[in-house]
Amino acid sequence: MVHLFQVILDGAMSGLLYALVAAGLSLIWGVMDVINFAHGEFLMVAMYLSYWIGFLAHVDPIVSWIASAAFLFLLGAVTYKLIVSRCLGKAAMAPLLATFGLSMVLKNFCLNRFSPNFRLLSGTLLEGKKILLGELVIPLPQLVTSLFALGVLALLYVMLKKSRLGWAIQATAMDREAAELMGIDTEKIFLLVFGLGGACVGIAGGLLPSYLAVHPEVGGLFGLIAFMVVAMGGFGSIPGALIAALMIGLVESFTGFYVAPVFKYVAVFGIYLVVIMIRPKGLFGW
């Protein structure tokens, strides 16, 4: 029984982490119909930043995520300005491939600058801390990340649904030219959206180094899972992404424990396919 609860807990917590990582991707995809292939590498960059801040300045990730978020906002905005805006709408897959190129550049730039070494922050505030409920273990770093995930997703959701900005974002997403005619500066909206997308993944990357080693390849699988989350949740839907991420997290941990760990990602990708077959536009997609 305790195993079952642990499996559920682990699954939910990794699910929330995936949701946090995917939120930014979802936003960008939903508004611009662009897949940022370098999303996983954005995460890696954020992790490096948080690692170095922690390593050199001894600032705990619990604080330094702010810096990562800010930096990634910039990185996102710059990526939009220099790359995405220039190939948007030119050919269907152009932004995807351009950001694929960017992912290569980022990954190998970090390899070049920081060497391929694995880096892990030790002695962080939350490291190794846990709450014990009988046999059930709730690791604090993961718990805190999960709470952050919920917070960020809620904020994003409210922003999109309730604010004027959110409205403008939605209109831009549907018909850019028409939005422009309504007086919405769509260029600015896109820039902002890419920045916000970056900031979200920046938060995730900022928190992660307290329990996950940083290295140039760390973003790969996260990026891939984020794609699944976003597509499974449905075009740009924040609640969709949340539910999809939780499903993926749970499927992962259930398969990992009750079937075999080697099959856990098979199951993750499999559940995505199953869902998408039943609902071709994702859980909440239109």
Partner: protein, 238 residues
């Protein structure tokens, strides 16, 4: 009359380096309805898009209220008082009629004023009121067209530009819509419209221009144009 409200001079436009407008000049005075007529592909929409700021000219100028606006982006034009209802409706497909209309007044932050304007357009187009909760893309072509016009009015423009608004409307609606345009005009909005229904358009317009393969070939009062032999032959099938 002093300076015209809108003054387009020797406008030249190109898509991707391929020129399609080779020097179009026109003027719209405050309070007028001006119609641009011409065959398919003559460049009517291109001219309109350029005025609205969706694209920028390669040569010539667009002046609005005494200022050169040929490089002003579209999102600013609406704040300056130009509202453009594009060819092909361009509604926000997934939003309701009401939300579409509210977005038409995006530049206006005062909610009360937006509500007031809503009532105003609903009075012009009662169908929309009944359908205000329907998602735009599920409406019929004609319903969508009305919604688009209404949306264009929501910003309370000084100059309303309408591109092919009769396209796909049933006859009684064309009549109604054009009446509505005349009514809008009476309420003080200047109107620039592009129409294929040349006769109907010229009947409500004060003045008109004829555009042919990217060039202005004729202009004059609506009545003159209606009587002009060439126009009747080329565009009215007589």
């Amino acid at each position: 009359m002093s300076e015209p409200m809108l003054q387009v001079q020797d406008l030249r436009c190109a898509y991707d380096g391929v020129p399609v407008i080779f020097g179009v000049s026109l003027e719209v005075n405050r309070g007028e309805i001006v119609a641009i007529v011409g065959a398919n592909g003559a460049g009517k929409s291109t001219t309109m898009r350029t005025i609205a700021g969706l694209m920028h000219p390669v040569g010539g100028s667009v002046r609005f209220l005494g200022e050169d606006v040929s490089r002003v982006p579209a999102n600013q034009m609406i704040r300056r008082g130009i509202s453009y209802v594009p060819e092909g409706r361009r509604l926000f497909a997934k939003l309701s009629v009401r939300e579409n209309l509210e977005l038409g007044a995006f530049a206006e932050k005062d909610r009360a004023s937006v509500a007031e304007r809503l009532e105003e357009v609903f009075s012009l187009f009662p169908v929309l009121k009944a359908r205000s909760a329907q998602i735009a893309e599920t409406m019929s072509g004609g319903e969508q067209q009305m919604c688009a016009i209404a949306r264009g009015l929501m910003s309370r423009p000084q100059l309303l530009m309408l591109d092919e608004l009769s396209l796909g409307l049933m006859p009684s609606l064309v009549e109604k819509v054009l009446e509505a345009v005349a009514e809008i005009n009476r309420r003080g909005v200047t109107v620039l419209l592009v129409e294929q229904m040349v006769q109907e358009a010229l009947e409500i317009a004060h003045r008109g221009y004829v555009i042919q393969t990217g060039r202005m070939v004729q202009s004059g009062s609506a009545k003159d144009l209606l009587d002009s032999e060439e126009v009747r032959k080329a565009y009215m099938g007589m």
